[in-house]
Amino acid sequence: MSYGLLSLGVQGVRAAQSGLGVVGNNITNVNTPGYTRQVAQFTSMEEGGVLQDQVQRIADQYINARLWSDNSRFEAAQAYEQLSSQLDNLMASDSTSLAVKMDDYFAALQAANDDPISLTNRELFLAEADALVRRYHDLHDQISNMGETINTRIRELTNEVNVSAGDIADLNERIRVAEAAGKDAFELKDQREESIKELSALVDIQVSEQSNGELSIFVGNGQPLVVGQSAYQFAAGQNDFDPTRFDVTVNIAGAETNITDMIRGGELGGLLTYRRETLDRSQNELGRLAIIFADTMNAQHQKGIDYDGEMGERLFSNVNAPNLIDGRLRSLYGTEGTVNITDSSQLQASDYELVFTGANDFRVKRLSDGKIWDSQDLNKVTTADDVANSGDLFYDPSNGEISLELDGFRLDADAHGPFVSGEKLMISPVKTGADDIQLNITNGRDLALASPVTVSKSASGDGSTAEAVVELTHLYDSTEKDPREQLPGIPWELSFDGTDWTALDADGDPVSVVQSTSDPRVLVIGSRADNQSELTVTLSGQPATDDKFTLNYNFSVDDADQITNVGVSDNRNGLLMSDLMKEASSLEGNYQDTYGRLVERVGTDTRVAQMDRSASEAVLNNTIAQRESISGVNLDEEAVRLIQFQQAYQASAQIISASQKIFDSLIQVV
């Protein structure tokens, strides 16, 4: 066997040159993102010599797929953490926190109670109450603004998704054309992988390779985003129930599919999850606290009398004001109605979705924890007026009327005709609570720190040490401003005959007295069943037969029937308002406990988000390292190849030179 020395030399030089080209290309692309290193392939030929006919692209599709999904997970965790961290700061910083303002509010109330006759102290308390209201508003606004920021970002991100998807579809086409022409299209493939990586940072995707080498991309529950050379459009669209809130839709064959709840990964997934799990919840928690606070403070304030002897107004705005009860209900197909707060202590920080599942059935879902009530589970009553307890339902599907009570709220809705199957009602009892709260009283004189009644011992039986305190515990009509109308027939005289207590009004007619079965020292006087207000007298010491207590107004009435000599030094109602601070007014406890739970929950969410972020970052870095170890350029390695090919080149040149010398020698011999 013999070889053509010259042609071998030439082939060697060419092969080494190509090899140097590949090495050069690797070195120059050392900093190019997404670049996949290439390796020159050499083949020895049958007739001798070498052929450099192929360049291999060192890529692993399995690693790439993992890189994309890890990237989605990391970007989602990072987006969630950034937003959550903002909220976390907001809730606890002294300049924005509710806790400190509530302390100030109760301190000012104490100061007013210390000196109830001081109008200055009363005005200072109202100023603190106003500051607290503004703090509620500020926090609500900050949370709303985060919602706005998320809206803006959703719009930007859907645009970015569309750009990336368009690029990928375009690259699919170019790669197909290049490969059809027998070209390698390595750089195009690098670009396509890089575009997919960018897309995976925006949204979680599934990538599948078609037989023709095209990559198709799906999102959510398999909705197509890129199929071959065509890309579908993402859009930010208004939520069905809330026009201020953007959802994500994808347009497939002219139909918009809402995929908001299916996106989990990428920055978009992080934002949407954060909005659903943390932001909505926090807004509801804050709103619920504002409603509980206003409702309980109002109820107590209305049981007192002000500087001029009138029953207290609501201290804060009515939690069931007409515009509010309308705004708490939204419907898909135009059902109208109201949502009233019936028992603020039972409220949950959640929205509720009511879906009509058939002609005669519906179910209610509490969105915070997914609890479901089926219409069959509720206690059916015959008229709307009979709905009085949690779990009661009045339902007339043929006329489209529904009334029900759950979790401290009452829904009354009317579709003006049969309910359509698929009709959805969104019930948000507490969502805007922190925005809705307002101070209702602006004049310190109107602050009802005094109790409308006093009790004094008018006769003492033999050896009696009994003392009594009195509290107005039930108002028969909270709109009535004259305490004499609330408590007619006073003075009432309470007498003890050794076993029972009885009461007579000013005309000598009996008044209902009910002794508490759990504590015999507690007497309820008057009866709400008889449309009367109720007073609760609590006794201490040892009563004796013939003890008498007189219950009187905490003011005098002059000849012109006007209230005068008001008990302006009395702070008993103010103390009861102050005691609300300690009372378990929500499912979590007192006001501060309730707020504390919110801060703790946001803190925990943020903490978990930080851990998720750092865990997903570690996983992503590991995958990047794996990909780099396969596909990345190592300059030392390239240096070795460079020398290797240089030397091969020089050696091949020597072959040519040797062939020349042989030829020369031959010529000389000849």
């Binding site: 943020t606 990345g632 350029v633």
Partner: protein
């Protein structure tokens, strides 16, 4: 493992930036003195700290209430001291006036002195504080409590029996006002009218009336003195409670500090550890990055 050049640089960058952010956090802890910069640093500790903050705020408020009560009760005490002094003189007059040796004219002089004392006492019993609140009117602080009737024959109590309480602890209150009725009597059955009776007895030179009125005054004197003792006891309770609150506040603040404040020893040693680590990272990066085969070829 095969290492790409890119990854080498990226990894070094990450390491250094992470070490920097740990240093920053420590530096923040040291400069603010607060261990937790935001609730997520330790959500459970944050909840505890918030609870301690509430306890401290309320303790401060209770202390403020004690100060207010002490001021008011001390004012009340000094007013009552003057009333007691005046009543002692009335008692003396009662004893002197009962003496048969005294002439009608002498009794008239004593009656005139009683007029002066009556004016002084009624103004004490109608004392107003800085806010203009009548101290002894019960809940009717805007109403003058002891008012002489139209024909000048008697005083009538216009206040009520209400007494104001203030919170001075989580579950304790203190009576911070006293209605005049409990010291000096209510409606027309009061010490001033008894003194009027004594005066009338002296004017009429009616020894039976004088001795009965003097006895009545003695009764009121005893009542005022016993209530005065009660008042003193209440002031002592306030002192005790102020001490308790101050202890509670100190204790709560020190417990809060365990959760919230930077442990300087720990933070400083951590800081030097992290600084050393960062320096090592800089140094090793500086050395390793010079290593390249390209420095040796060509």
């Amino acid at each position: 493992m095969r290492l790409s050049t890119n990854l080498f640089y990226a990894q070094n960058e990450t390491n250094i930036s992470e070490a920097n952010s740990r240093l920053f956090k420590l530096q923040q802890q040291l400069s603010t003195g607060e261990k937790l910069q935001q609730p997520s640093d330790d959500p459970l500790a944050t909840t505890q700290i918030m609870k301690f903050d509430r306890v401290i705020a309320r303790t401060e408020q209770f202390s403020e209430n004690i100060t207010v009560s002490e001021r008011r009760l001390s004012f009340e005490e000094s007013t009552i001291d003057s009333v007691v002094t005046a009543l002692q003189r009335v008692q003396e007059i009662g004893i002197q006036g009962g003496s048969a040796a005294l002439s009608a004219n002498d009794k008239k002089i004593l009656a005139d002195e009683l007029d002066e004392i009556l004016g002084h006492m009624s103004s004490l019993m109608n004392t107003q504080d800085a806010q203009g609140e009548f101290m002894f009117a019960g809940f009717k602080g805007a109403t003058r409590p002891y008012v002489l009737n139209g024909d000048g024959t008697g005083y009538e109590y216009q206040g009520d029996s209400g007494a104001r309480f203030l919170d001075i602890g989580e579950n304790s209150t203190i009576q911070s006002t006293d209605p005049g009725s409990s010291f000096y009597g209510d409606s027309t059955d009061n010490v001033l009218n008894q003194i009027l009776n004594l005066k009338q007895g002296l004017v009429d030179d009616d020894s039976a009336a004088i001795s009965s009125a003097a006895e009545g005054v003695n009764g009121w004197y005893e009542n005022v003195v016993s209530k005065q003792a009660e008042l003193g006891a209440r002031l002592r309770v306030l002192d005790d409670q102020a001490m308790t609150l101050s202890d509670l506040k100190t204790f709560t603040e020190s417990t809060r500090s365990v959760f919230a404040d930077t442990d300087y020893y720990e933070a400083i040693s951590q800081l030097s550890l992290e600084t050393t680590a960062l320096q090592a990272a800089y140094q090793s990066f500086g050395q390793v990055q010079q290593m390249s085969l390209f420095n040796y070829v060509g």
